[in-house]
Every structure is written in C-alpha cells, then in structure tokens.
C-alpha cells in the first residue's frame, strides 16, 4: 500500500476505530496510542485482503486484541484510575457530566462486554465478525451479547436510565 492510498484509507476508518478504542479504554491518550499501534501493525502486515470491508474487519480485530493487552497491562493501576475519574467528575460542566456519566456506566461493563455492544450496535457487525474480533466462536456471540445487553440494562435500571 502506498502513502496516498494509506492516507485515504486512514481518513475513512480511523475516526470510527478511534471512537471504538476510546469507548473501550475510556481514555483518549490510550485510544490515540492503540489507534497508531493498530495502523503500524496494519502497515507492517500489509494483509492481502479482498476488500476494504475485510481490511476494516482486520483493523477492528487487531485493535480489540491490542486493547485487551492494554487492559492486562493497566490492571494494577485500575483502582487509581477510577479514583482520578471520580475526582474529575466533581468539576465537570453539565454536558460533560452527562458524557462522563455515560462513560462511567460503560466502564462498569467488562472489556469484552463493551467490545460486544459497540461492535453489534454501532459497527452493526454480524456475529461471525464479532466472534473473529474477540476470538470466540460465532455461536457463542449470541449468548455473550445477550448477557452484555442484560448487564447494560441492569446498570441503566440501577441508574434510573432504563427506557
């Protein structure tokens, strides 16, 4: 892939990939970092894929793996990070507070549940693609997704946000 083609591809895909990574990690610096790592891997592997849709799936799969590696690395710092987020919440504007509250709600889900919900609801990926991205069988996705939706529903009910 030459630079011009890469740039065009990047401009078409990086935005949605960044949003996914940001929702998974809850951290814009981590999303930037993981986004770049994903594209580095993409350029290094230069996968011979049939279509842009396949390349896109490749990106989301790689980004998911990198994000899960990132979670393993920061597991120990998790409590401290949560404390920092809670402290920051006290000085937010109302609009930011709502945004922050949504992020906090989503963060209460497990990383895999977040990935499942985002890929199914926002990327509208089918179960095969989700399974491939998460390294689980497509058949399992149905059950896992159902559980993730239930978990989100419970969280929203607890916060009085359920429809």
């Amino acid at each position: 892939m030459d630079e011009a083609r890469f740039e065009a591809f990047y401009r078409r895909t990086a935005g949605s990939l960044w949003s996914y990574l940001f929702r998974l990690t809850g951290n814009d610096a981590a999303a930037d970092d993981l986004l770049q790592k994903t594209f580095f891997r993409f350029l290094r592997a230069n996968p011979a894929l049939a279509s842009e849709e396949h390349q896109r799936r490749w990106l989301f799969r790689t980004a998911t793996n990198l994000a899960f590696d990132h979670f393993r690395e920061i597991k120990r710092e998790r409590v401290r990070m949560d404390e920092r987020i809670r402290e920051a919440a006290t000085v937010l504007e109302p609009r930011d507070a709502m945004r922050h509250d949504m992020m906090r709600t989503f963060e209460q889900l497990k990383p895999r549940e977040r990935a499942l919900l985002w890929l199914a609801h926002v990327e509208e990926a089918d179960h095969e693609d989700i399974g491939e991205a998460l390294g689980v069988k497509a058949k399992s996705v149905k059950v896992l997704l159902f559980r993730a939706r239930k978990r989100l529903g419970e969280l929203l009910t607890r916060k009085g946000l359920a429809p």
């Binding site: 890469f6 990047y10 935005g15 949504m102 609801h121 089918d126 149905k142 989100l152």
Partner: protein, 156 residues
C-alpha cells in the same frame, strides 16, 4: 446466527420508530427484546461527541510505521550476528571451563606459587605448564578480548 429482525429492531429502538409487527416480534424474541432495551442508550452513547482533539496525522503514522519497519528489518538482518555472538559466548565460556578442568591441579599449584618468594622461585625454575596449555590459554584470551571489544563497540 443473529435474529433476522435484529437490525430492524436496533434501528427502530434507536430512532423510536416502531411498527406493529416489530413490536410484536420483540414481545416474542428474547434476544431482540434485550437488543431493543440497550439500543436507545447505545445510540446516544455512540453519537456522544468524543473527540476533543484531532486524530493522529496519517502522514506521521505512515512515517513512524516506516521507521518501525526499518528497526524491525535491522533486527531481522542482525539476528544471525546476534546468534553467532551468543554461540561465541558459549564457546569461550565452555573453553575456559574446559581448560580449568583439564589443568586444574597444575593451575592450583601455580596459584599456590603466587607469593613474592614463590614468584622468584618459579621464574628461576624451568618448570612450567605445557606449551599446549599456554597456546590454548592465549587463544582463549584473544577470543575473549575480541568478543568483549566487539560487544562494547556494538553497544556504542
């Protein structure tokens, strides 16, 4: 396999535009009911503005990837040298261990003479270790020095 109606249910729930048939289906399908419950919130959450700064520039990402590719290539090319270096370390360490084992008694005796008077006596006497031993020691010492210099210079 996901339910054939799931995509329509997600759209209907996100936009709150239901048809009677879809509502009826959601009442019967557990998966779609869960999807419909999560969809409005997920829709709002996905539309939430998240990017307060620009994405990394693609030109920078491209450049960094090229630099990283160069680093990876260098590591790949220099792998045989690294392996040869490791083998050399092992050979030299094994050589020294072998020599010491082979001539341990003689070496021990020689160490015993390393006193000021012992040195004078040893120098005066013709008694010494064999020529083979000294040759091996000189070869091993040269290899050790060469490898040490190579390691130091390579790191610099």
């Amino acid at each position: 396999m996901k339910c054939a109606h799931e995509s329509n249910v997600l759209r209907a729930a996100a936009d709150d535009r239901w048809t009677g048939a879809l509502r009826g289906h959601v009442g019967e399908c557990e998966d779609c009911a869960a999807a419909a419950a999560a969809a409005p919130w997920m829709s709002r959450f996905s539309r939430m503005s998240d990017r307060e700064r620009l994405l990394p520039d693609p030109a920078i990402v491209w450049l960094k990837a090229q630099l990283m590719r160069g680093t990876v290539d260098v590591a790949r090319i220099s792998r045989p040298i690294t392996i040869a270096q490791l083998i050399a370390y092992c050979v030299i360490a094994g050589g020294w261990a072998g020599v010491l084992t082979w001539k341990w008694r003689a070496v021990q005796a020689w160490i015993g003479t390393l006193t000021p008077t012992g040195l004078v006596h040893t120098a005066a006497r013709a008694e010494s270790l064999s020529l083979t031993f000294f040759t091996v020691v000189i070869v091993l010492a040269s290899m050790t020095v060469t490898l040490a210099l190579h390691t130091i210079l390579a790191e610099e």
